[in-house]
Symmetry: C2
Subunit: 963 residues, 2 copies
């Protein structure tokens, strides 16, 4: 495969109007950094605004400044005002972060304004920082969606401003704890540094004392340094200005009153106070440069207030230099500050774990949001799967995908909806209820656009333009087409598998008949195949018949099943990989056996709820809320000591036991033939609150695994970190919340293990998890609370349900029991299968003649270690592709090896490797280098374009021609 | 006397740096008015901000945006922002009103900004409206101070911008009722129109129904029309935008969301709503032009929000014209709107009374503030007297006044302090307590500057530079110099009389000795003169000796008294003009006799308090507060049915009776020899509130005068209006508050009368007054309340005292009994004497040799009808002088005649007559003309420069040389 020249790569042009090649300009931001004074304490004032892409208001309400009675915030005006003010003095600087907002604003600007803004960017006066579509949450996001949202934002900046628009610094000033995987992603995207505001208060106190507020974060155990190394700084005041120096319209600090003829002249007092603050802050940092974040939430709507007073501050503070003052204050940006730190050529401490959980006080652990809004968290995750499918089908179906027989479709709407959904008050569940609805609405709208695209694409790929429906509500057994199909006798189902390899996937359809024939695309009866399919009906609680099916799906493929009613009875199979025992007395699980490896553990599983603190105990008034998890006792209440076994179903493809714990908790324990995991499909809700008690519902798996205090959780769905109860790797923890202080976010999995056994739980969404007892693993499933937790959202987290008083959440946990060495071989593909789910679509009747019944976008399956992370249309002639080694170093004997095979089906005219964020050619990446004591740097050389090392993601822009 | 040419008049230059001759440019504002469409309904959007010169915060706090926790408001930013936004589109307009703020802002601007602003003014894009130093209160201000504050503001505008900066429209959108004298002043200042926001809700309802929202106000019964005619418009929404169209940062109305890709696109809905609002409003007005005030209190701090949305509104509303819409919306100004009304050439209704009292609902009469903060009201009035004295002495003393042996002094500081004190939340008493203190502090600072000037001037005039002290606390009998003078045997007192004629004025000094000799400047013993002097001692309640003196003061003169201790005893005289009887049983006044006219009335006087509503009755929750007077019963509680007579003093010059009513109410009834008035010196406070009842304290004069329902109150201290109980001249009043609804402001006097008798009360400050019963006149003296009254001030009016819990107020009422025809001859000079009081200063010992002991600035006393309203230094070579005919037409048989004599002592090189506001040559005044049905216009011709007609004020700029 030839690598195209740069010139060739930009021939294709762009979909956006303001395309500037990433290659035309150098990034001049650093060249335009303000002068500093090496013999003084340099105070870098960083004017900034923090614009939540939804929180108390929706993203569009924030943009327009609508519903200011909820919160005064209007981003359109912020950008208007900042651009005006920047023009007034070339010394002024501003950074902007959230591209979702900047994008909205930019397209409403005149050519004149665009020209002015471009000049400000080129001169480094307006600098983009972070630059993703949003500032993503770090605890509850999946790396796949994070990379997408970053790419979306960075691409807009790149298309619009070129190299000068490329952010050099990652900026997560607000997220509530920091994931190592995020740091790894930022490093791979070419960022030189990372700043954030929130970390555990004990950690911060220690770091201040030891001057370790700034460090090098080695964010991967697999990637060769410095590939995932990221310089990381803790900001001194969260992301706020020092106390008394907030001059936004939303603040009440005294302005600088420098007219001696008016009352209360205060220049001398303010200057003195600023000098004190500067010296105090400098004591916690290593260099003679310090940073001050001059801004906060939605500030700078009237930037004049800020700049006018900062101008005066700079003028009067620096005027004292003539009288011997050694403080030099200047407008700056994080990248200019970072450059000074780099030039200092110091040795920095190394950080290898993460920054979870986050506590801002002894009883204030932000571990509730790991689970808050479980339904939104699931919907976001499903939407990611749908977006990947949409992206892939846009590539595979070619131009007719977006404009075809079913109309105009697009993936952009879904990309943007997913972009905002990654925000740290979106999928995190910490937004107001109406905003949560808005995120869901956006995702639904995004999918509606994608549906058209998918219909078009499938029409192209199948050669059939027959109408096609998607059954969105299969999880609650609703699909009008299949349910009404007894009248038309036939319907057909199409399955698209977005993974790069074959998976087995159970399909369950609601029908009104009692027996169906299913045939595959070859006309063979599905249920006659060996153990690969589940297709069955049973009495539903509402007297509706469900149909169930699973199939071995071809990679990236379309496959047809034919379903018609007949009178055959159901066969029952025995499964070969797993065995589950139930306790006759309690009805609970009692043991789990892996029949392949011949290992058995004791396994009891039940549901409990922690009584949420109402803020009325003596240690602290902190309540449980959308952010905070604070049980008022370490002992959860069991919902029921016994489970009533309601139904037992045994068939050739699935075995199910339905457990009933209470009117609001039930579960289906399910084994599929040919599968190595045990599925626990839990249903929780409406959580009752008539007793006046907020409840945080968990399920707990109690085993005889000798896990001691250790357990393991993934970071954004990728690498796994070791956790230890009542312990932090980097400081001597004083544990003040024995439950909440041990909760960690899980995005796709958690496990406990000992020498022999590893019990891995793969989840369908982000949740909070912990191991409080030896051999125990608990996962929080749902929360319903009665009080706000004083972090701004101003609502108790008590989600309404559609039909009931209170949200009913349903989800799946997949349990795998393996020897530790074999665990990754099971949980890695299992988790990827959960993330990228097959897309089902339905048509009335049988397919027309000449319908192409099968199609594969890949000529062959990818190697087991390689995951097709991204396949999406970049512009008319280019496709973005990301290949990922999905195993960590050393976790799999088989798969934790470099992989050197690659695939292709499209006619690839050329390929260029890019940074992970796809906003820079890989060969142009030239990040700052940092010392960490004795650490030796190893340069990564690219021997072959097709080599993937463990946990590596490589990003390519392919120039393609549709075959 | 020659009138100088214009060219000559501007030779002198100006004290300000940015002087532009008033004569260089024409006012182009009107020429730059936006085009309108005669076949459509033209909606004039008037962007404006209403910037209180102190209210919840002090004027400087408002300017800087300090203490935003009290109220978010920062005028510096408003002007910054508006100037920025005006530059973005030449169609945009803005009006600015309060020169006190604009002045603060202007002097901090760069030359570049000043140039830009000047251009905006010249192009009519920024238009000054009203233009006084503040937007004065109309109920509690004295015309003298109002003219001064208008002149101060208008002069700054004139000096800075010339003719283009001359306001054409008066704009009192917030004051709580409207005085006819204000309208008269505006007319005489050359304003073409007047707009306001607040009027009685019944009046407004009627005017809307009859389309009389706009009218011609004939604001004087004395001045020949159209001299005091003023076109007057009632704004449709107070001064706010129509509901739903407020786009300030302080508002929460929905912005125009015109991006169809974002949620909640609302252009169609907003446009439709605006069309409805426009047509609804147009139904109440006569022309096809309507005005909308787009702004409110301290709005436009971030003007972008307003303009961005108004731009869109104009764009989308006018776009509908292509589809047949007949609404044309445009940026405009009040003067452009007024011009359209004038061009309509309609006949307008005529208004001759005033707009007091103001009620915004049935139980919400804004008649409390007539009396609120009685001590501030007095201090403001005394400060006016001091400022006039300071101005006069600056002229008379020449350049050494401002820079002389006692240092640098000025009258500007006092002028500006008085300028802000006229604000409708200043002297009105409706500000927060800390702001009231600030106004007082400013007046004190102003006086401190004036003191230096006065010392310098008196040094020049007397030829003696001996140190001089002013005893500020004579009203509470504190003057360290006179009290300690027994050690030095001698001190001397200087008296400066700012009136244009001789007055008799009692002087009372605290001393420690028991007997004093007093001699005048000629060495004659003062107490030996015939009946003209009071100089006596008596036992004070605190055992301190007071000394009292009165003298016949020369006009504008300096006169010396020598005081030394001797052993002479006190003589007692009998007085010739008045006789007072007391009731032996009650100790109250029982009758008053004028010995000259030989008329006697029954006169009982006592003190009462209305129980202030606590808002807990069933008709309304309205409380009494700083603004609102609402007694919860029409029957006031008597403080004591009897008065205890504490002391009776009879001397040759004064007779006093001290009445004690309660621990917090007492009074001295006092007659001076040679005086025609009875003085009632009341002391009220601390008003007790331990009983949980707010109190509004009145004194009531009950007589046998057959006044029926009629009584009379002055307007801003000038012309008198007839009042009638439960009646309004212009609409059929439905009286809902039998007491509060009958209160009117008095600034200097009130009276009742019948055919034979007129009892006139002259006051020392503004107060509220009424006549509830036949023959009765009541005056509210003090108020102490327990609740806020929901008009924004957010504090109950409960003033703290310096030494006690609660303010003690002391004041004087001067009673004159005359036949009605002779009343003005007494009360006019009496009131002017109260307004312009002699200034006393003291020196240790006897004057040095060669001290000039007497001086007069006038060669002869002014004619009795002529009042010297203004004599102040204009610039180095010019002096501003205002002469006033102080009698109304027909009120005095002797004095209500034109006067044709004039005076001079300075060498006057030339004189030019100006408008009342001194910002336009009188001959250039060319006001719009208005039709009022059959009314005939009479042009005023200036026959002689020295002719004054009743109630006329003439304003001259004199070019002078110091003799």
């Amino acid at each position: 495969m030839l690598k195209v020249s740069k010139k060739e790569m930009i021939v294709g042009g762009s979909k956006t109007h303001y395309f500037i090649s990433p290659l035309i300009m150098d990034n001049v931001s650093l060249q335009s950094c303000p002068a500093t004074n090496p013999s003084m304490l340099n105070v870098h004032l960083v004017p900034h605004t923090h614009d939540d892409v939804g929180w108390l208001k929706t993203v569009d309400q924030y943009y327009y400044g609508d519903r200011n009675y909820i919160q005064h915030a209007g981003v359109q005006y912020i950008l208007d005002s900042v651009i005006d003010q920047l023009q007034k003095d070339p010394a002024r600087r501003f950074i902007y972060v959230e591209t979702a907002f900047f994008y909205r604003w930019w397209r409403q600007q005149s050519q004149d304004t665009r020209r002015i803004v471009t000049q400000l960017v080129n001169e480094g006066r307006l600098e983009f920082i972070n630059g993703g579509w949003c500032m993503s949450d770090e605890a509850t996001t999946h790396y796949s969606a994070v990379i997408d949202q970053m790419t979306l934002g960075l691409r807009f900046l790149n298309d619009t401003f070129g190299e000068c628009g490329r952010p050099l610094v990652a900026w997560h000033i607000d997220p509530f704890g920091h994931a190592r995987e995020h740091a790894s992603i930022f490093a791979q995207m070419g960022y030189d540094g990372f700043f954030f505001g929130r970390l555990d208060y004990q950690d911060k106190a220690r770091r201040m004392k030891t001057k370790e507020m700034e460090m090098l974060w080695r964010a991967s155990e697999s990637l060769t340094p410095p590939l995932a190394d990221l310089f990381t700084g803790v900001l001194p005041n969260g992301y706020n200005p020092p106390e008394g120096f907030c001059w936004d319209q939303s603040c009440n600090d005294a302005p600088i009153r420098d007219d001696p003829d008016l009352e209360d002249y205060n220049v001398d007092e303010i200057v003195q106070r600023f000098l004190n603050v500067s010296y105090n802050q400098a004591a916690f940092y290593k260099t003679n440069h310090i940073i001050m974040t001059m801004g906060s939430d939605f500030q700078y709507e009237n930037a004049n207030l800020w700049y006018k007073n900062m101008d005066k501050l700079i003028k009067y503070v620096n005027a004292l230099q003539a009288k011997g003052s050694k403080v030099n204050v200047l407008y700056s940006t994080p990248s200019c500050y970072l450059q000074e730190l780099n030039l200092a050529n110091l040795t920095w401490p190394l950080k290898t774990d993460d920054f979870f959980p986050y506590a801002d006080d002894a009883h204030d652990f932000w571990t509730g949001y790991f689970t808050s809004r479980p339904a939104l968290k699931l919907y976001e995750r499903l939407s990611n799967s749908r977006l990947q499918t949409c992206n892939q089908l846009e590539v595979l179906g070619g131009p007719k995908s977006t404009s075809g027989p079913f109309g105009e479709g697009d993936s952009d709407t879904m990309s943007k909806a997913m972009g905002v959904a990654q925000h740290h008050d979106a999928v995190s569940g910490t937004e107001k209820q109406h905003v949560a609805y808005d995120y869901a609405r956006r995702l639904a709208t995004g999918w509606a656009h994608c549906e058209v695209l998918v219909r078009n694409s499938l029409a192209v790929l199948s050669g059939s333009e027959s109408p096609r429906v998607f059954c969105e509500n299969l999880n609650i057994s609703v699909c009008p087409l299949t349910e009404s199909s007894q009248k038309v006798l036939y319907f057909s189902m199409n399955v698209y598998n977005p993974l790069g390899r074959t998976v087995s996937w159970p399909v369950r359809l609601p029908v009104n008949g009692s027996l169906y024939n299913v045939t595959d695309s070859n006309g063979k009866a599905v249920d006659s195949q060996v153990g690969n399919y589940v297709f069955m009906s049973f009495k539903h609680i509402c007297n509706i018949y469900d149909m169930k099916s699973s199939s071995l799906l071809p990679l990236l493929s379309v496959r047809w099943f034919y379903v018609s009613i007949n009178s055959k009875s159901i066969l029952v199979y025995v499964f070969k990989f797993l065995k589950v025992n139930f306790d006759d007395t309690t009805g609970l699980l009692s043991s789990l056996t892996n029949l392949e490896t011949n290992q058995t553990i004791r396994l009891t599983q039940n549901f409990y709820w922690y009584n949420a603190s109402a803020g009325n105990n003596k240690e602290s008034h902190q309540t449980s809320g959308a952010y905070i998890f604070r049980p008022n006792s370490s002992d959860p209440f069991v919902i029921n000591k016994t489970a009533e076994i309601q139904t037992v179903t045994v068939s050739s493809t699935v075995q199910e036991v339905t457990q009933w714990f209470s009117p609001w908790v039930s579960q289906v324990v399910r084994l599929y033939e040919g599968h190595r995991e045990l599925e626990l499909e839990w249903t929780v809700g409406p959580v009752p609150i008539a007793d006046g008690l907020g409840k945080e519902v968990i399920t707990r798996l109690d085993t005889d695994i000798e896990s001691s205090d250790y357990f393991y959780t993934d970071s954004n769905g990728r690498e796994v970190l070791e956790r230890r109860k009542d312990y932090r790797p980097t400081w001597d923890l004083k544990q003040t919340e024995p439950i909440a202080g041990n909760y960690y976010p899980i995005n796709s999995r958690a496990y406990i293990k000992d020498d022999k056994h590893q019990l891995t739980v793969v989840t369908d969404r982000s949740q909070g998890a912990s191991s409080i007892y030896n051999g125990s693993l608990e996962i929080m499933l749902h929360r319903r609370l009665l009080y706000d937790d004083f972090r701004g959202v101003g609502e108790p987290l008590s989600e309404p349900g559609e039909f009931f008083d209170g949200l009913v959440a349903r989800g799946r946990l997949l349990l795998a029991l393996t020897p530790p060495k074999m665990a990754a071989d099971v949980h890695r593909p299992l988790a990827q299968g959960m993330v990228l789910q097959p897309l089902l679509s339905f048509q009335d009747g049988t397919p027309l003649a000449n319908t192409k019944l099968e199609f594969s976008g890949l000529q062959a399956a990818l190697p087991p270690a390689v995951h097709l992370l991204t396949l999406s249309q970049w512009d008319k002639d280019s496709v973005l592709i990301r290949l990922e080694h999905q195993y960590q170093a050393k976790e799999s004997e088989t798969h934790s090896q470099p992989v050197t095979k690659l695939f292709s089906t499209l006619e690839v005219l050329g390929a260029s490797e890019m940074s992970l964020g796809a906003n820079q050619w890989k060969e142009d990446m030239n990040r700052l280098q940092w010392n960490t004591g004795s650490q030796l740097f190893i340069s990564l050389t690219f021997e072959q374009i097709i080599t993937l090392n463990p946990m590596e993601i490589r990003t390519f822009l392919l120039r393609v021609r549709q075959l």
